[in-house]
């Protein structure tokens, strides 16, 4: 036990290593730092380049060597973007914000409700219903697009916000995730105590289960919001009215129609990832925690 340096407090001096160097294999070497810094640099570079192009004029963009520092043209690029009637960028941002918000609230509410039922309540057919939800998670979205599109057409929703909102109001992943958390983090005694105090089931959900689930809800809400904001496949089919796009469709309209005006297109990509970027800066720790915890459960 004492031969390891891993997690050994400072007080015990590292004993002379019987083996060659690298015995403490959990210490970061310079090579580790080089590798990680290189990866982070490559991860950030395209985003940095986005800022560079979005703040330059098109003349400087189309030059060799390519510009590597931001310029001062963001304002005029943005105003060209926002006044571009063929991309409807502001409408796109508004639509995406609204749709993502509604979907997030709905997914969190229905997932916690169903997760609570599956995790803590007894009812006939519980396991069969849960199995059905797990199966729905396996099927790719593409399989159902044709009838879904027809349905949207019949409802008169194509090209309008409900088309990209209503089909996403519930999802199996959320129910599954919440069931796992409810089972682990809400003790049965707590629920029983609430019942003894005369709480009905909904009251237990609202004032016992929901508060206990707060960290998990944060993670689910973040993932749902990001997924919805970034959704592209279904929107490219269902939002077929160019005057009423989501933000991703605005980007598509921009990139297919204005490939010569890079500065404007890049101003659009920059604006479109700005909300995600802010969410990431504020909640990065929770997002990382959510991915890593989810990985252990899978």
């Amino acid at each position: 036990m004492t031969t390891t340096a891993v997690r050994t407090p400072r007080s015990t001096p590292t004993p002379p290593a019987p083996k060659r160097r690298g015995r403490d294999m959990f210490a970061a070497t310079p090579l580790t730092y080089v590798m990680i810094i290189a990866t982070v640099a490559m991860s950030v570079f395209p985003l940095y380049y986005m800022i560079v192009v979005a703040t330059r004029t098109n003349d400087t963009v189309a030059s060799i060597p390519p510009p590597l520092t931001p310029g001062g043209n963001l304002g005029s690029n943005m105003s060209r973007l926002l006044n571009n009637e063929n991309a409807q960028f502001l409408t796109g941002m508004m639509n995406s914000a609204l749709s993502s918000l509604m979907v997030t609230v709905s997914v969190v509410f229905f997932s916690t409700l169903a997760g609570f039922a599956f995790g803590k309540l007894r009812f006939r057919g519980r396991n069969k219903f849960m199995l059905a939800i797990l199966i729905t998670m396996m099927v790719p979205a593409q399989l159902g697009v044709v009838p879904l599109y027809m349905l949207m057409n019949d409802l008169g929703w194509t090209g309008r916000l409900p088309a990209v909102t209503v089909p996403f109001l519930v999802n199996g992943f959320g129910v599954f995730m919440m069931r796992q958390y409810v089972t682990q983090s809400v003790p049965d005694e707590l629920i029983e105590a609430a019942r003894v105090d005369g709480c009905n089931t909904f009251r237990i959900y609202w004032s016992v289960v929901l508060p206990a689930l707060r960290p998990a809800i944060a993670v689910l809400a973040l993932f749902t919001f990001m997924a919805q904001w970034n959704e592209f496949f279904w929107a490219s089919l269902a939002m077929n009215d160019p005057s009423n796009p989501t933000v991703q469709i605005s980007l598509k309209l921009l990139s297919t129609g204005y490939y010569n005006d890079y500065a404007q297109v890049f101003a659009g990509t920059l604006l479109s990832i700005l909300p995600m970027f802010i969410v990431f800066i504020v909640f990065g720790r929770q997002i990382i925690g959510g991915i890593m915890e989810g990985a252990l459960k899978a």
Binding site: K19, S43, V61, V139, R195, T269, M292
Partner: protein, 337 residues
């Protein structure tokens, strides 16, 4: 498991007393109704919404796929499996399958290998852990549309950053969109840029749950850290690796936005004039936007689903075999455990 809640359950109710009937004066009937009906009420919204917008379309796809069904037409004639035979004899479909599988292999193998190596680096003790983790995850929060647009510019022929780097090595300005292999590389780069960090975090989580004393005894036996990585860490990650392979298979074979926006042009669903980078999902959309055929589109959706199932199965078998032979050989090579 699903006994009625009123029945006395001596052993189980001790363990899970959450909703045991408890006498409450004046509450009797309502409370009984509450405990009986509430669970169904709580799962109902999911099943109702999913039933309408998820399950019904899935089932109905099969029906549509068996009909000649034009967009906007009132009558649909039953044609049996004709749509399927038509699609299966279309060389464009097979080209799309070839592209999809090619890009999938070209992107997934480096993606998961690099993620493993990166996770191993992130697993070391170091300062600023959260900062580095956020740094590698940041590509994942950007939308595919934005990523594809930026990379299309980076891969541009005349003023693209990558060609500019390559010219230092004497490479002439190259049109990445023009050829199959180069489109595949460009699209794979986008996919990998977006997903390496995410997969690395998943591997990192699994690595942290490996008990450290295994490594102690391995290093006492004189195993180098590289050898420990391949003979200890990787085999221990087996379930996680299988999980990421399956997830990447399902996601990778549905590839759509990256190739679509990379090779835009006037008819973006073709993936270039010679269909250099048309994937199956793009081909699916072409049935709608280019040919107005719902029936064919539904048939392609089924074939895509089948393709995903086949590849998920194959990849599951390959990964579980690979890992197992790894374990065996590590034992043969001197038994690190």
């Amino acid at each position: 498991m699903t006994l009625p809640t009123t029945a006395p359950r001596p052993t189980r109710s001790d363990r899970r007393p959450a909703d045991r009937e408890l006498p409450r004066p004046g509450w009797g009937r309502f409370s009984k109704l509450d405990t009986k009906a509430s669970p169904y009420l709580y799962i109902a919204p999911f099943f109702i919404l999913f039933g309408i917008f998820g399950a019904y379309p899935l089932v109905y796809t099969a029906w549509v796929a068996l009909h000649h069904w034009e967009v906007g037409a009132d009558t649909h004639t039953f044609v049996g499996l004709d749509n399927f035979t038509k699609i299966l004899s279309d060389s464009d479909f097979w080209n799309a399958v070839y592209n999809t599988v090619g890009i999938f292999v070209l992107s997934t193998i480096p993606q998961l290998l690099l993620a493993l190596v990166l996770a191993n680096a992130l697993n070391k003790r170091m300062r600023g852990r959260t900062f580095w983790r956020m740094g590698v995850l940041i590509p994942n929060i950007t939308s595919v549309a934005a990523v594809s647009i930026v990379f299309s510019q980076l891969f541009g022929r005349d003023f693209g950053f990558i060609n500019w780097i390559l010219h230092f090595f004497g490479v002439q300005p190259f049109e990445w969109q023009a050829y199959k292999w180069s489109s595949w590389i460009a699209v794979s780069t986008m996919v990998d840029w977006r997903w390496i960090g995410y997969n690395a975090l998943i591997y990192l989580a699994a690595m942290q749950s490996i008990p450290k004393d295994i490594y102690e005894s391995a290093s006492l036996d004189g195993a180098s850290s590289r050898r420990q990585f391949w003979t200890l860490t990787v085999p221990m990650l087996r379930p996680t690796i299988i999980f990421t392979v399956i997830i990447s298979t399902i996601g990778g074979l549905q590839l759509y936005a990256e190739p679509l926006l990379f090779n835009g042009g006037t008819n973006p669903f073709l993936g270039g004039t010679l269909r250099q980078s048309q994937t199956v999902t793009m081909y699916l959309m072409e049935q709608f936007f280019g040919r107005f055929q719902f029936g064919d589109m539904a048939a392609v959706a089924w074939l895509l689903f089948l393709l995903i199932m086949i590849f998920a199965g194959i990849n599951y078998l390959i990964t579980s075999r690979l890992e197992r032979s790894d374990k065996k050989s590590s034992k043969k090579r001197g038994g690190t455990r």
